[in-house]
């Protein structure tokens, strides 16, 4: 309701010709803020290692020893929600093969991609490039933070073999 009233308000203003009020809002000449990364990186090889943390809630993740119990929990979620598109080898299925993923990507990037793929595809240059290659967007499988962390552990375990 609020949003609807707002639009009526704006249009009413427009009709009344009180356009100068817009100036009092401060940011009237600025482009609307976006979650766009500030520098447009050019990604040419999506398989190359990257230090990017991606875009999203994860900015600083500390890793310890691989936790086998967590990896087991991660496997269960992975089988249901990820294997439709990803293999653990380097073979591309619908999405990229995930062998070596934890060596190529930061834990933050992986967790951001798993939990919020829409934002990553929109705002992270590497995720964007992957989408351009694959065309099917990575599905948001509504994976919780805990589940995502367990999946990361499972992927680390896979890469340690």
């Amino acid at each position: 309701m609020k949003t609807r009233l707002n639009s009526i308000f704006f249009r009413t203003l427009a009709f009344a010709g009180i356009v100068f009020i817009a100036g009092s809002c401060g940011s009237s000449t600025q482009a609307p803020a976006t979650e766009e990364a500030p520098v447009a990186e050019v990604i040419t090889d999506t398989k190359a290692p990257s230090n990017s943390k991606g875009v999203g809630n994860y900015t600083d993740v500390k890793l310890g020893e691989i936790d086998a119990a967590k990896a087991d929990l991660g496997k269960a979620v992975f089988v249901t929600k990820c294997t439709t598109c990803h293999k653990l080898t380097d073979e591309k299925f619908v999405g990229p093969g995930l062998s070596g993923i934890t060596k190529r990507r930061t834990p933050e990037w992986i967790l951001n991609m798993v939990t919020n793929p829409e934002l990553m595809i929109k705002s992270d240059p590497l995720a964007k490039k992957l989408f351009e290659e694959i065309l099917s967007p990575m599905a948001n499988q509504n994976i919780s933070d805990e589940e995502a962390r367990n999946i990361l552990e499972y992927l680390r375990q896979n890469d340690s073999k």
Partner: protein, 657 residues
């Protein structure tokens, strides 16, 4: 034309300003809204409506959902009728929902949506709707907008006075528009109507935790035509009021023969007392066969259970349970004011609206102010229960709803208008023409204790020249009026699906917050679910072939199946593995003689297929899901009966390993 120009100008100006102004939130907007109708119904692209409007589909048997004030249609919920678009009534999981004691029935006539109530207010949990023809009541879950339950009503003919609910949804009711002899005693001459035909005021208990319905009792009442009902509220909350016509007890040419008496009745039922009588064991169990169908949200499957008896009480043997209030000329609507003090009933053939006083009714009962009786049921004296009549209203009053300022809005079918009147003073204060032939009308919350005073919606039967012609059959329509001022102002006409027989509206915020986005795959208990790619398989058991297939953007697995034979019974169980909002997948196979499937994220649905010829049969996703949707396909090879082709299946590189 003028309107179109307005939209164009406003859209351009809005577009120019929206970007620059988006950070500027006005604090007060009310005073700036002009009287312009277009502005009041314009919901800009990307913005949301303020109310949900649920309109019955009448003879289409469904329930349609619109946004207000825009009148934009959002969804058509399949209820009593098959829906090939979603597979409702075609899939193995949903077929039991349309089962009845007469077998599978793909259609009904749905009339009155009724929102569930808590403390007399619409609570947004469920919406009930009646099926007239094969008497049923359905409950739709408003977290999923899906029909969750359908219960059949025995001993009822034409379940029209239904499914209105009590103040805390303790009960929803049904009653016979066509009185009938009781089941098992119904092979009698039609002209024994007076002796043998009865109504059945049916009280269906609603479980407050999960909404599940069960028939608590039926009160067997004299054989009239029971038309509409409404529960009391507040002071009158223990009572349910039904209108009746045909107190003449005609059984032929009712058009003439049921219009003889000067007055018919409003029947007042003390349901609280009935509840006590049942608790005291005064009810009698009689055989009655009816079906009770439930849809389980975890197994994504329905079950249909046969019930074999019902508890009845005979109204004439239970003094104090029921009273008749005389009401002029074939009353139709029966509507209780938000405070529960008055009951407005509308005689279809009358020119005035009688308003009954609940307080006077109790007094008349106490003083035994009776003018006669029907069977042993007392008929109260009209003058003793009447608060007053609203004079000079119009022609053919039908239904009344209320606002939050003490006004009532009554629809007039014959004179095609809405009349606004003052409940306490009982005088007409405004009238507005409708286009054309209004039936029911709806004020958001208008039958509850807390109506909104913003809009009234007219539900019209005839549109003639209001829309582009579409051959002999024209759309029916709804019209939105602003009732926030003294005068009703027409804002918008919009066409509807089927007959918008009755509608209820509710603030969107009461529903949005509980709206489900997808079904959790972990919770899926369908026996044929495939919870991951690894569980995809094809299993033969005799001539039955079960295909456990998964769907995710943008493939099906398995997508190559061989070894099916002519004469097999093939079940495609499709599980949508997506776990995100708004990503259903469809499924169709060439030559399937039922429908497609539309499978929600996390859900499993099953299409049965009887291949009747050898050949190569493509199947594919029907709901455009991604850039590679057109790649989401597969083949089923059907070999002749008795063929030796082994049963094999695969799904891309994954299954080839």
């Amino acid at each position: 034309m003028k309107k179109a120009r307005f939209f164009l100008v406003s859209a351009v100006l809005f577009a120019l300003l929206a970007g620059t102004l988006s950070s500027c939130k006005p604090k007060k907007v009310g005073g700036l809204i002009s009287g312009d109708a277009a502005q009041k119904v314009y919901v800009a692209p990307g913005e949301l409506d303020e109310f949900y409007l649920f309109t019955s589909g009448g003879f289409n048997g469904q329930l349609a959902v619109y946004g207000l004030p825009s009148g934009r249609m959002l969804k058509n919920i399949p209820v009593f009728s098959q829906d090939p678009m979603s597979g409702w009534g075609y899939t193995e999981e949903t077929k039991p929902m349309l089962n009845t004691s007469f077998g599978y029935i793909p259609w009904d006539d749905s009339h009155h949506p009724e929102l569930s109530k808590t403390n007399g207010e619409d609570d947004g949990r469920w919406i009930f709707i009646n099926g007239n023809n094969t008497p049923r009541i359905a409950r739709i879950d408003l977290t999923t907008f899906r029909t969750a339950e359908i219960i059949e009503l025995p001993n009822v003919g034409g379940n029209h006075a239904s499914p209105f609910c009590t103040e805390n949804t303790e009960y929803v009711v049904g009653n016979s528009r066509f009185s009938l002899p009781l089941a098992g005693k119904d092979d009698v001459p039609i002209n024994s109507y007076e002796e043998n035909f009865k109504g059945a005021a049916t009280f269906i208990k609603v479980d407050p935790t999960n909404g599940e319905m069960s028939i608590a009792f039926q009160i067997i009442v004299p054989g009239f035509n029971y038309d509409l009902a409404h529960a009391g509220k507040g002071v009158s909350k223990d009572w349910m009021f039904f209108t009746t016509y045909n107190s003449e007890q005609a059984h032929s040419l009712l058009e003439v023969n049921a219009s003889q008496n000067d007055k018919d009745f409003v029947m007042a039922v003390n349901w609280k007392k009935a509840e006590e009588m049942i608790a005291q064991g005064k009810g009698k169990k009689i055989p009655a066969r009816y079906m009770h169908n439930k849809y389980d949200e975890n197994s994504h499957s329905a079950t249909s259970t046969e019930e074999n008896e019902v508890t009845i009480i005979m109204a004439e043997d239970m003094p104090g349970l029921i009273y008749y209030m005389p009401c002029p000329k074939s009353p139709h609507g029966c509507d209780v004011t938000p405070d529960g003090r008055y009951i407005a009933a509308s005689g279809k053939l009358a020119a005035t609206i009688p308003v009954f006083s609940f307080e006077k009714m109790l007094k008349a009962i106490e003083n035994k102010a009776f003018e006669g009786q029907v069977a042993t049921i007392p008929v109260l004296k009209y003058e003793e229960v009447l608060a007053g009549e609203v004079p000079q209203t119009g022609l053919g009053p039908l239904h009344t709803e209320f606002d939050d300022k003490g006004f009532a809005y009554t629809s007039f079918f014959v004179s095609s208008e809405i009349v606004k009147w003052d409940v306490e003073k009982r005088v007409v204060v405004d009238r507005a023409p409708t286009y054309y032939s209004i039936g029911h009308l709806c004020v958001p919350g208008g039958d509850s204790k807390k109506p909104s005073g913003k809009y009234v919606i007219a539900l019209n039967k005839i549109t003639k020249d209001r829309y582009l012609p579409t051959g002999p059959e024209l759309t029916q329509s709804a019209q939105l009026f602003d009732i926030s001022g003294e005068k009703m102002t027409l804002l918008l006409d919009f066409p509807t699906i089927g007959e918008p027989h009755y509608a209820q509206a509710i603030p969107a915020e009461k529903i949005i917050k509980n709206s489900k986005k997808f079904y959790k795959i972990e919770d899926n208990t369908n026996p044929f679910v495939a919870k991951s790619e690894a569980e995809a398989k094809v299993v033969r058991n005799g001539n039955r072939v079960d295909v456990y297939m998964i769907a995710i953007r943008s493939h099906l697995n398995p997508d190559n199946i061989e070894g099916i034979r002519v004469g097999d019974e093939v079940y495609f169980h499709i599980t949508n593995l997506e776990q995100d909002w708004d990503v259903p997948h469809g499924f169709a196979v060439k030559g399937a003689r039922n429908s497609e499937l539309l499978v929600m994220p996390g859900e499993t649905q099953t299409l049965k297929w009887n291949p009747d010829r050898p050949g190569m049969f493509p199947f594919y996703c029907t709901d455009f899901c991604s850039a590679l949707h057109q790649e989401m396909q597969g083949y089923a090879r059907v070999s002749p009966a008795g063929s030796n082709v082994p049963l094999t299946f695969s799904g891309g590189a994954n299954a080839a390993e």
